[in-house]
Subunit: 138 residues, 2 copies
């Protein structure tokens, strides 16, 4: 039996976040001591690990709710889980593409500034004022 603090130490998830996951319905409302304090068991430790791992991979709370739902119904087909993972992968790839375009522009802009001149001649500032200087859309 873990207190919320012990669970937090075990999993690396902060205490208010654990309570937040309970509010969001990702963690069940566990049993309490007579003094109203939460007491967790192995099952909750594992589920919290699952949640944390999914969060680290960028899944939304909403998506995790679906994943947990599947996880607790092992007889249901797993196509939905695969779809969620592929959606997430698509999102990540989109973000990477977008960020790489930004990287190119920012590198170009940052390189143009040697920091020695006055702001009136600064390439960073003039680049921001004039989108036309950018090589691509962003």
């Amino acid at each position: 039996m873990f207190s919320i603090g012990a669970l937090s130490r075990e999993t690396g998830v902060k205490i208010p976040t654990i309570r937040y996951y309970e509010d969001m319905g990702l963690l069940a409302a566990v049993e309490r001591t007579q003094g109203n304090q939460r007491r967790y068991g192995r099952a909750e430790l594992e589920r919290l690990g699952f949640i944390r791992h999914a969060r680290d991979l960028g899944f939304s709370i909403e998506a995790i709710r679906s994943l947990i739902d599947l996880n607790t119904h092992p007889d249901r087909p797993c196509a939905e889980a695969g779809a969620l993972a592929r959606d997430q992968l698509g999102d990540v790839r989109e973000k990477i593409t977008r960020l790489q375009r930004l990287e190119v522009e920012l590198a170009r802009i940052a390189k143009g500034c040697n920091g020695s001149g006055p702001a009136g001649e600064c390439y960073v500032l003039s680049s921001l004022a004039d989108h036309g200087k950018c090589g691509s859309e962003h």
Copy 2:
């Protein structure tokens, strides 16, 4: 003289967002008609373009405040603008690195699920439950 709606159409920035930028101090509080409606000129159009461009590149409102500050004091050294751009570039590169690690893991996880079996045997779900299956940290 533009109304806020005209400014919005010109720049592609939504009306509530324009008012938000004013609240945040990025756009000056412009003159009003007798009926209290905002009227903008060329200067605001350009500044809003600057803001939008910087936002598109991922600069925070806070960073943009500094950039605008420099922009309106052309006599000051531009080293700060360069530093802000390099910070932003560093942020973007960090995000890219992180997302690329996620991409690898997600691709591995998603690939393991052909969607035909029951959730009880789903590779996506078991991967989420067991971080140890991951090739690297994330």
